[in-house]
Subunit: 342 residues, 2 copies
C-alpha cells in the first residue's frame, strides 16, 4: 500500500519544481500517494493570517508526512511566517540540513565539505514573543527550555550514530548568555558523555561560524539553537555550492516535513528555469524517513550522474564544466533517464 | 603636548603584543603618553567581579581614549564579560571592524575583499537581562531601542561618507522579529534616504551571512545589531585571512576604545610568538581618532611592507610565501625598520 503524503505545491517556482520532483519520485518507483493540501499565498490572501487552511491541518495530521515546496508570505505585518507556524504547531523540533560540496560541477572552495546542521526548530527568538514597551523601547524574548535542549541534542547524537558520523560540534554564545545558552551547553555536555564513540566539542558561535566559513571540512554534525542554526545552515549551503541545492527535514514526534531550504523565487516563476535540486534532496530525506531509502539512493545516484554529465540548470551553468543548459522539466527528464544507471 | 591614552596591558599574550605595538607607535613618532590602567584577570581574581579597578574608571574618563590588549575572563558564573562591561558603562555604541584581504601573504579565497562591519555595541541580547522562569524554562531579553538604532545607522552612513565608501548593507532577521528587527530596518530606511550618494540595501541575516561568506567582495560597509555583528565580523575577519590580524574601534560619545578582535590566547602566552598585527591595526584606528592619521599611515605602510617582504609570525607563516618566521619582538623590529620606507 502506498504511503500517503501531504503535498503542498507552494508559490512562485514551487509548483514547477514540485511537478518535476514528483515525476522523478514516480519514475524511481517511490511507493507514495500525494494528498494535495492548500498552504501559502492564496490562503493568506483569502484572509487567513496563518496561511494554512483548516482542512490542510487535518490532512497533515492524518498523513504525518508533509512534502512542501517553497511558499511566499505576502508583505504586511499581519502575516505570520508559515514555516514557523508549521514547525511550532506540529512540534517539528529538529531541522536537519545536510550540505555536501559537488565540485567541480557546482563551484565551491571546499571540495571536501560534508556537514549536517541539526538546528533546534521551535524555541529561541523564534517563539515570536515581541512587544513595544514604550514608543522607543522594543523587546523580544529568547526562550530556551531544558526539554527543548535535551530533544535536539539527543537527536543530533542519535543522528550522528545512525549515519556513522564521527563528531558533533555545539555552537552557542554562552560566554554572554550564561543562563539560556549556558543551559544548552550544559545539556550538551550531559548527553555527550552518553555517546563516548562520538567526538564532541563546543565553540562560541562567532568564532564557530567564522571557522565553518573558512574551513568547513573540519566540521561533521553541528547542533545549535534556532537562530544560530538558521544562519549557520545558510552559510554552509552557500559556501558548499548554493542554497539552491539543499533540502531539509523538519522532524517532530508525530509529523515530519520535508522542504528545500531556498525560497519561492517569484522573479523566475513559471519560466521553466528553476533548479529542482533542493526539493529533490528533500525528497531523498523523506524517502529515508518513510523506509524507502533504496529508492532515495537510486534518485541520488541519478541526480549526481546528471550533474556529473554536465546537464545543469541555469543557476549552476558554467561554460567550463557544463555540457548543456536545461530547463526544470528537461533536467527532471535527464534524472529520470539516469535512474538505475551506474 | 602628547595625547594621554589609558593603556591596559591585558592578559595572556596581551603584555607582549602591547609592548611590541607601543614600541612601533613610539618609533613612528606618535605623540601619545600611556597612562597604564588595571583591567582583567588579576582584578577579577582579587574579588572584583566587574574586572575593572575603580581607579581605572577615573583614568578612562579623564583620558577618553583606551588602548586595550586582550584580557582573560576567568571561568565561573560570577564574572561578567569585561568587554561588555566597558562597552556598556562607557556608552561605546559603535564597534567598527575593518577587514581587508592581504593575499598572497595571508591566504584568503577572496583577494578583493574590503569590508567594514559597523556593529551596534550596547543593546540586543547583550543587555544581559536573563533569568530562570522555572527549573526548565530560561529566558533572555533582546532589547532594541529607537535611539540605539538611530545612533548606529547614522554612524555607519557618516563613516561610509567620510571614508568614500559606496554602499551600506543592513542585515537583520525582520521577517521573524518584525517588531525589534523591524524597528532597526525602519530606522535604516529613514536614515538611508538622507544619504542619496551612498547605495543602501537590506538583507535577511541568514542569507546575508551566507553571501558574505561566499562572496565578500560584494560588500562594503555592513551595519547590524550586536549579536549578528559579532558573528558577521568574525566571519569576515576569518575568511579575509585570520581573526588574528584585525583591530577594532569601539566608539562612544565621550570615550573610544581600541583593541584587537582576537582573544588572549593563554596557551601561547609569554613565548614571544604571538602576532601583534591585530593590536597594530587597532592602534592605526586610534591614531586616526586622535588626529594623527599621518602617523597611522606610516605604520600601516611599514606593516604591509613587512608582510610583503615575507617576514611573518608563526600563525601566518607558510613555506610558499614566507621568507622568515619571526617572533613578536623581531616582527615589531622589522616594522620599525620599515617605517618611512616606500
Ligand atoms: C523563511 C524563514 C522564516 C526561515 C527561517 O528563518 O527559519 C528560513 O530562513 C529557513 O531557514 O527555513
Ligand atoms: C568576548 C566577547 C564578549 C566579545 C563579544 O561577544 O562581543 C567578542 O566575541 C567580540 O566580538 O569582541
Amino acid at each position: 500500500k502506498p504511503v500517503k503524503i501531504a503535498v503542498a505545491n507552494g508559490d512562485g517556482i514551487g509548483p514547477e519544481i514540485m511537478e518535476a520532483t514528483l515525476r522523478i519520485l514516480n519514475a524511481a518507483g517511490a511507493n507514495i500517494e500525494p494528498d494535495y493540501i492548500e498552504l501559502g499565498e492564496k490562503v493568506y490572501l483569502s484572509g487567513n493570517t496563518s496561511g494554512v487552511e483548516d482542512s490542510s491541518w487535518e490532512a497533515i495530521n492524518t498523513n504525518k508526512v508533509i512534502f512542501k515546496a517553497p511558499i511566499t508570505t505576502p508583505q504586511g505585518k499581519g502575516y505570520k511566517s508559515l514555516n514557523v507556524t508549521l514547525r511550532k504547531s506540529l512540534g517539528l523540533f529538529a531541522n536537519v540540513r545536510p550540505v555536501q560540496a559537488l565540485t567541480p560541477f557546482v563551484p565551491s572552495h571546499f571540495p571536501d565539505m560534508d556537514v549536517v546542521v541539526v538546528r533546534e526548530n521551535e524555541e529561541d527568538l523564534y517563539a515570536g514573543i515581541e512587544h513595544r514597551q514604550t514608543q522607543d523601547v522594543y523587546q523580544c524574548l529568547k526562550l530556551i527550555t531544558r526539554p527543548g535542549c535535551e530533544r535536539i541534542v539527543r537527536y543530533a547524537f542519535e543522528y550522528a550514530k545512525a549515519c556513522g558520523r564521527k563528531k558533533v560540534t555545539c555552537m552557542l554564545k554562552d560566554n554572554i548568555m550564561k543562563i539560556t545558552d549556558g543551559l544548552f551547553h550544559k545539556v550538551f555536555d550531559e548527553i555527550a558523555i552518553e555517546y563516548p564513540e562520538i567526538n564532541s566539542e563546543t565553540q562560541i558561535i562567532d568564532i564557530g561560524a567564522a571557522r565553518l566559513a573558512a574551513k568547513p571540512e573540519n566540521y561533521d554534525v553541528i547542533v545549535t539553537s534556532n537562530l544560530y542554526g538558521d544562519i549557520i545552515s545558510d552559510i554552509a549551503a552557500e559556501i558548499g555550492g548554493s542554497v539552491g541545492m539543499c533540502g531539509s527535514a523538519n522532524i517532530g514526534k508525530n509529523v515530519a516535513m520535508f522542504e528545500a531550504i531556498h525560497g519561492s523565487a517569484p522573479d523566475i516563476a513559471g519560466k521553466n528555469i528553476a533548479n529542482p535540486s533542493g526539493l529533490i534532496n528533500a525528497a531523498i530525506s523523506m524517502l529515508v524517513h518513510i523506509g524507502q531509502a533504496d529508492v532515495g539512493d537510486k534518485i541520488k545516484n541519478a541526480w549526481l550522474k546528471t550533474l556529473e554529465e554536465g546537464y545543469h540548470t541555469a543557476d549552476i551553468f558554467r561554460e567550463a564544466v557544463s555540457v548543456e543548459k536545461l530547463g526544470t522539466k528537461a533536467f527532471a527528464d535527464r534524472v529520470i533517464a539516469n535512474l538505475g544507471k551506474k
